[in-house]
């Protein structure tokens, strides 16, 4: 189901009305179950295409039961390994040496996010958390929640249960307005802002990736950097717009979904960036990969002097896995390596500077305007260039590498960083000014529900106007990851 289609809007409207027609929690749960199943059915043409996903869910459900029953480390490790192997087979990773593809077409959308939920429940169940072992109806509604099915946010089972116990709550006028406001804001980001950046990116990147192009030298480098930057904004507005939509719909369905973005381009280092971008994914990796890995490494290294360097290794592994997770082809291995290298270099820099200046002085330096501004620019440039891995295939990547060379890549990086360092704070300043001015712009008598709805309706008009202008709404880009 396309998120910008009238079919999706109709489906959501019907679900919201059916859900709110009842107050009884069990009935509401069945409405959600029906909606989840209809949503899933929209992706397939036959039951056979759903079978592998259902098998994966059954495996996950059984696993949460058996790891809780046999409290042994070996059982947990074996179970996690089994789930990851089954996932890798279903995901059809082309870079793995041994492939065991199922010989038919089946639904792969949502698999990655189901994996996160299942692993969380299995690991937490083994840790003795009762909230991680859900009843069958809750298990299906949690793992296949149509709001989070395609690309998150990655809800935890305890968060799901917190929503579930409040399922009999009604929606008041303030929540109804806020929810619609959030949904429309999401569509503005997705269908207007990301569509504009997608248009720019599509036009700018053609000569960059063309086999025969007359462009060369600094012009080619600048065109590549512009393509990378426009893709980065496209990705951000596309993904964060989608999040606004599902979070807003969630409010009308008694679900408080976790936030996934918090001004990521204001980050000053890669760790801060990932605590602001796809936050639930970073948080999941921190809890279920980085922390256990750090504990594992720390147990084996006695000398405290080496502890910061263990962080370098753990960050490399975590960011590498996060990068590889984004796709199933070898270009995502390169992307993972770049992300891993960036994270470990950033950590090494922090270790080096702390050792050289001391914690206090380094903190003061990091907070100084010049350092923070430059760091922000460097962070943006690193991310924009790293996500090149998401818009090229292996052949195009090698073509890019040949044409740019080390010097071209460095020029693109430094140029983008300097531009971002100048433009970022200026945009922040303008935004702050707008926030201060906004209340003064409202005329007396034009406030309240009427004015608010006029603003919302204007945004809807803009969505339709830009939608018809571009005639094809941009794909929800993270659906592919």
């Amino acid at each position: 189901m396309d998120f910008t289609s009238s079919l999706y809007l109709g489906f959501v409207t019907a679900t919201v009305l059916a859900f709110n027609a009842w107050r009884a929690p069990l009935l509401r749960q069945f409405v959600l179950l029906a909606a989840n199943l209809v949503f899933l059915a929209g992706f397939v043409q036959s039951a056979e295409q759903l079978a592998p996903l259902l098998g994966f869910l059954v495996l996950g459900y059984a696993a949460t039961r058996w790891v809780a029953r046999w409290h042994r480390r070996g059982v947990l490790e074996g179970t996690v390994l089994l789930i990851i192997v089954v996932f890798a087979v279903l995901k059809r990773y082309t870079f793995l040496p041994l492939r065991m593809d199922l010989p038919f077409l089946y639904l792969q959308v949502g698999l990655s996010y189901i994996l996160f939920r299942i692993l969380q429940m299995v690991i937490d169940s083994a840790g003795g958390e009762d909230e991680a072992r859900l009843a069958p109806l809750d298990f299906v509604n949690f793992t296949c929640n149509f709001l989070c099915f395609v690309s998150g946010p990655i809800q935890r089972s305890n968060e799901y249960l917190m929503n579930r116990v409040q399922l009999d709550r009604g929606v008041d006028e303030a929540v109804a307005f806020s929810a619609m406001h959030r949904v429309i804001k999401g569509y503005v980001k997705l269908a207007v802002v990301s569509a504009v950046f997608n248009y720019l990116f599509a036009n700018l990147s053609v000569p960059v990736l063309a086999e025969s192009t007359a462009m060369a030298g600094w012009r080619y480098t600048a065109q590549y950097a512009a393509s990378a930057v426009t893709y980065t904004f496209y990705l951000y507005y596309n993904f964060s717009g989608y999040m606004d939509i599902v979070i807003g719909i969630g409010w009308l369905l008694g679900q408080k979904l976790p936030e996934n973005f918090n001004r990521p381009f204001s980050a000053h280092n890669i760790f801060e960036f990932w605590s602001r971008w796809h936050m639930t994914l970073s948080d999941w990796f921190k809890t279920y990969l980085f922390n256990p890995l750090m504990r594992f490494l720390a147990d084996r290294v006695a000398a405290p002097i080496w502890l910061p360097y263990l962080g370098v290794i753990a960050f490399f592994v975590t960011f590498f896995v996060m990068g590889v997770w984004h796709g199933s082809t070898s270009v995502f291995v390169i992307y993972g390596l770049v992300m891993g290298a960036g994270a470990s270099l950033n950590k090494l820099w922090q270790v080096f500077m702390t050792a050289r200046l001391g914690r206090k002085k380094y903190k003061a330096l990091a907070e100084s305007f010049a350092y923070a501004t430059l760091a922000r620019g460097l962070m943006f440039a690193f991310f924009a260039l790293a996500v090149t891995g998401l818009w090229v295939n292996m052949d195009q990547l090698s073509l890019l590498a040949r044409r740019l060379g080390i010097s071209g890549l460095m020029f693109a990086f430094v140029g983008t960083a300097l531009c971002a360092a100048v433009i970022g704070p200026a945009v922040d300043h303008a935004a702050r000014l707008l926030v201060r001015l906004a209340p003064r712009l409202g005329r007396p008598g034009l406030s309240g529900l009427f004015a608010q709805n006029i603003v919302l309706a204007s945004e809807v008009c803009l969505i339709f106007a830009v939608g018809s202008f571009f005639h094809k709404a941009p794909e929800f880009v993270y659906k592919a990851f």
Partner: protein, 370 residues
């Protein structure tokens, strides 16, 4: 539930109110979309429709009923080569419309013919002559021509316009009409604010697009008349068409079949057809691997069509002087009167033109002598 319904209702009322204001303002300040006289898609950029596919799809409601009609369809060389006003001057007793759309292949040309016929009564169809401009570039297979990132695979530019404002809906069996053809003027009036938005956006961003994406600004007639195609431009053009055709010289029969079926449909409705083999510069015909292949297909097609009532064929390759073209396919403005005279002469022999308006020069009539 009540709060949700109330909020939804407020939003709908606000939406209706804002749209009513925008509709009134756009009609008040920009004016109606249609204009009197024959249609000319080469002027689309000067109208509220801005692009030739949108102009053809939405503006066809301005086709005046009653008069004998000559409708030119084809790709950009048909639009550029047969200037509506020049042909109209030679055929004053008919209404001449040029609905050629740049980049068309035969599939899209057939769609345009269907769109015109959709609006016509049986009597009006019998008084219509379609002039179809062809050259090898109009025979690019659909799977290559209509497969770009900005569209759903297979959608032609006309399909995009059909779906853009919901006048058609997408089905498994192709586009299905939502708005009846008779209500097209009402539909266009209702989407007027969107047309204005589109126009303003395109005009405002034109300079930026030319600069950012390296798109050349359109040349004036004087510049095109004085242009000389360089050796490098010739190489680029030959390479471009090899990429477009996706082969080293072969042309699949798919689009010739589409053309043949289109002609059958037109003739079965009582309309007439003039098939024009458009000239390309001599150097292009000599060096393109596709031209000889095209001639082979053309020969087979013409042998099938020979003797059909209401069908005529016009060969124009004698106008292939290199110096009369501003690029690899488009004639210079200074020769378009000659093109117009050539086609007008033939039309008078097959079209629904009163004898006093007929001209008798040029043209190779191979079938359908009245």
């Amino acid at each position: 539930m009540r709060a949700i319904l109330k909020q939804g209702l407020f939003l709908l009322i606000a939406l209706a109110g804002i749209y009513a204001v925008l509709l009134a303002a756009s009609h008040l300040f920009v004016g109606a979309a249609y204009r009197e006289g024959g249609l000319d898609s080469s002027l689309a950029a000067n109208t509220i429709f801005m692009t030739d596919p949108k102009y053809v799809f939405l503006n066809r409601a301005a086709l005046k009923p009653g008069m004998p009609r000559i409708v030119f369809v084809g790709a950009s060389n048909t639009a550029v080569g047969f200037k509506q006003r020049e042909v109209q001057a030679l055929l004053p007793d008919a209404e001449v419309d040029n609905l050629a759309v740049g980049g068309s292949n035969m599939t899209q040309i057939a769609q345009i013919v269907d769109l015109v016929q959709e609006l016509q009564s049986a009597a009006a169809r019998r008084r219509t002559t379609f002039v179809i401009g062809m050259w090898y570039g109009t025979f690019v297979q659909d799977r290559f021509r209509w497969n770009t990132p900005d569209r759903r695979a297979g959608d032609t530019d006309i399909d995009i316009e059909r779906y853009r404002y919901g006048f058609y809906r997408r089905t498994e069996h192709g586009p299905q009409q939502v708005l009846p053809a008779a209500d097209l003027p009402l539909g266009v009036a209702l989407i007027h604010p969107y047309l204005v938005f589109d126009q303003l956006s395109r005009r405002a961003s034109q300079a930026l697009r030319e600069r950012l994406f390296g798109r050349a600004a359109s040349r004036t007639d004087a510049e095109r008349d004085s242009s000389v195609v360089s050796a490098k431009e010739k190489e680029t053009a030959l390479r471009y068409w090899r990429e477009q055709m996706h082969s080293d010289g072969a042309i699949a029969g798919e689009q010739f079949l589409v053309l043949s079926n289109m002609i059958d449909r037109i003739l079965s409705q009582g309309s007439k057809v003039v098939l024009v083999d458009l000239p390309i510069p001599h150097w292009h015909a000599q060096r393109s691997p596709f031209y000889q292949e095209y001639l082979g297909h053309r020969k087979v097609l013409l042998s099938e069509l020979a003797g059909r009532d209401g069908f005529a064929y016009l060969e124009m390759m004698d106008l292939s002087d290199d110096l009369e073209f501003s690029d690899e396919v488009h004639p210079k403005p200074r020769v378009t009167r000659q093109w117009a005279a050539r086609v007008a002469a033939l039309i008078t022999t097959v079209g629904d033109i009163p004898p006093e308006s007929r001209i008798s020069t040029g043209g190779t009539l191979i079938a359908g002598q009245p």
